[in-house]
């Protein structure tokens, strides 16, 4: 059975594009695969949309809008193409399938009396994310040579001092590091990697008001066992960016879990290696109540290595009130 939806009966979407009216769109004209004349159509035309990507189990429906009016095309009840009857002229479309793909914006120019057949191809929604500012501190029990290797999950974008097949460091118990006769407090690297938002479990972590970020981080990082210098390095890097938002979502990753950002190989082997990364995201409207995390305590006995870093995820404007 064919579903021909008329604009006039399309439900008006409750979804608002709040705050995005100002943003520009680059709208490409969608070219039809074929155009078939139909004498039965008088002053209208029928658009057929086929979605070859929409069969990978990541979604159950296509959400669309035509000239700002939204509708839903179920892929369960209706195996057929999405069909829309419309008037001749220029029309804007948006299509959304699942979190695995970006929303598509497109447009078409059509004439009455025809069937138009279109193929809509979605762009995969993996995003390039920067793993930012991992810094590594080394605290040996006596002055010694240490070799540090990092295998980032993506590509290095920046290292300091310069990383060449690892860093060769003369490390002192007070944390002073000497590389090529220059002294440093930490080793620094950054990388960018492909990340799918589906990898993140937003049900675990914290929602923190921007104004409380400093206090929250001080508390959490002291609980983890970082000292005040390390906490200051962490806070002065992340907190200014977080505190400009009303609310942020934060999730910490510890130790082995941080291998997903990069693997560390240190010789000689430290007695204690502690890694803490923050994944965070500005929240515009959302008030989630995620489950707080267990913060493991850093053990600073013997040769101790600390690394911290993080990732800022693209802003979310999602609401959970539905």
């Amino acid at each position: 059975m064919k579903h021909v939806l008329l604009f006039s009966i399309l439900m008006v979407s409750a979804i608002s594009y709040g705050g995005q009216e100002e943003m520009e769109l680059e709208i490409a004209i969608l070219q039809p695969d074929s155009v078939v004349a139909d004498p039965a159509l008088d002053s209208t035309c029928i658009l057929h949309f086929n979605f070859p990507d929409a069969n990978d189990e990541s979604g159950i429906m296509i959400q669309y809008s035509i000239d700002g009016v939204s509708g839903i095309h179920s892929l369960i009840d209706n195996e057929e193409d999405l069909q829309l009857e419309t008037t001749e002229g220029y029309h804007d479309f948006q299509f959304y399938y699942s979190t695995d793909f970006y929303e598509e914006y497109t447009s078409a120019v059509v004439e009455a009396g025809n069937h138009y057949y279109y193929t809509v191809v979605f762009t995969p929604a993996e995003v390039m994310i920067m793993t930012e500012k991992p810094v590594i501190y080394l605290y040996p029990t006596e002055e010694q040579e240490v070799h540090v290797n990092v295998e980032p999950a993506g590509e290095f974008t920046f290292t300091y001092p310069k990383y060449e097949d690892g860093w060769d460091v003369l490390a002192s118990p007070n944390g002073k590091l000497t590389v090529n006769e220059q002294s440093y407090n930490y080793l620094f690297w950054e990388a960018s990697e492909q990340l799918s938002m589906e990898q993140i479990d937003f049900n675990i972590g914290y929602t923190v008001a921007g104004s409380d970020v400093t206090e929250f981080l001080e508390e959490t990082l002291s609980e983890a066992g970082l000292n005040s210098t390390e906490i200051a390095d962490f806070i002065t890097f992340w907190a200014p960016r977080m505190s400009v938002h009303d609310d942020v979502f934060m999730q910490f990753q510890f130790n082995e879990a941080c291998n997903r950002f990069g693997e560390l190989d240190i010789t000689p082997r430290p007695d204690n290696l502690y890694r803490i990364y923050v994944i965070w995201q500005p929240l515009e409207q959302l008030r989630m109540a995620p489950t707080p995390q267990e913060i493991p305590k850093m053990n600073r006995e013997g040769f101790t290595v600390l690394e911290w870093g993080g990732q800022e995820l693209p802003a979310s404007t999602m609401t959970r009130s539905l």
Partner: protein
């Protein structure tokens, strides 16, 4: 039903993601509508550009345009708009009005034969933007352990401080640079503020044009020249290096010592023998202007010395069309 809710949530999320890419003060061509155009030959099409936020006297300005990287063409605006006749297909534009506005770049605009497409073009003024002064950090190096007071009076509004700042920071400082406040030890004092600034103009400002990929070497050289220690240099380079490196080319100008009063005034007691401040202003730059080279003065680190560094990313006037 949960699934539906989930999808709706991410619908919004993903649309935000896809918008987040344009960072530059540049392409601001917004498609408004299309209509059939008369008087065009078979393969021709017409763009209609209407500029937003123009000053009254610029609504009939003469503008410079380059289509698809081709030669400069001059057009006179009428009521802040003009039309450009071209072939059907994909085109991109660079448009320069005058030095009150940033040069504008379009993305690739597709137009079909026989049509007139209307675009709004958002202009950006080069004057008086709200700019954040980032990460000024202050190091204290006394000759002997003693108590101190530091106050900062920024020209704009204080956006962030660490450790917490209430009218001033007070504590104990040590010759090795350690700062004790409320029983905690720090290496530096940190503040940030927001203030109004004008765009950088490489025609009028001494400085440097540097490729992003050469930034570490460039900064290391300049900071060595003025007398940063290795760990101060690492703090500076690990903060600014990654951001600047992401740009193809930047314009950089430094501000030293009393010039930094334009950002904030520092009051320190006891009075230091030397206060040295170095701020960097930088912005992505696609122009070819060779700025007048800037001389940096070396720090004197004898006696009780205070070092502060900071900076700002600030839009830079890149007028590629007038060169």
């Amino acid at each position: 039903m949960m699934r539906t809710t989930y999808l709706l949530l991410f619908f919004l999320l993903i649309s935000a993601v896809s918008f987040a890419e344009e960072k530059r003060i540049a392409a601001t061509f917004i498609f408004d509508r299309s209509e059939p155009a008369e008087g065009l030959s078979d393969e021709q099409a017409l763009f209609h550009f209407k500029f937003k936020n123009l000053d009254k006297e610029d609504e009939s300005a003469e503008i410079t345009l380059s289509c698809d990287g081709g030669e400069n063409e001059l057009f006179e605006l009428k009521n802040g708009a003009f039309e450009y006749r071209t072939s059907a297909g994909t085109h991109h534009f660079t448009i320069y009005i005058n030095d009150k506005y940033f040069e504008m770049y379009s993305h690739n605009l597709l137009i079909e034969a026989g049509r007139k497409d209307f675009y709004s073009v958002r202009t950006s003024k080069t004057e008086g933007m709200q700019i954040q002064v980032y990460k000024p950090i202050i190091y204290l190096y006394p000759e002997k352990t003693s108590s101190f007071e530091v106050s900062v009076t920024p020209k704009g509004e204080m956006a962030f401080t660490y450790p917490r700042y209430e009218d001033k920071w007070t504590g104990t400082m040590h010759p090795n640079g350690n700062i004790d406040i409320d029983g905690e030890t720090f290496r530096y004092l940190f503040w940030e503020s927001n203030q109004r600034m004008d765009a950088l103009d490489p025609k009028e400002t001494p400085g440097f044009v540097v490729k992003g990929e050469n930034i570490t070497q460039f900064l290391a050289e300049k900071l060595n020249q003025v007398g940063f220690s290795a760990s101060e240099r690492a703090d500076f380079i690990t903060y600014w290096g990654p951001q600047i490196q992401a740009e193809e080319q930047v314009f950089i100008t430094f501000h030293q010592d009393s010039e930094c009063d334009a950002f904030a005034e520092l009051n320190i007691s006891p009075t230091p023998d030397n206060i040295h401040r170095l701020y960097i202003s930088w912005g992505a730059y696609s122009g070819q202007q060779v700025p007048e080279s800037q001389e940096l003065r070396p720090f004197n680190r004898d006696g009780f010395t205070v070092i502060e560094w900071g900076g700002q990313e600030i839009p830079t006037i890149s007028n590629t069309l007038s060169l």
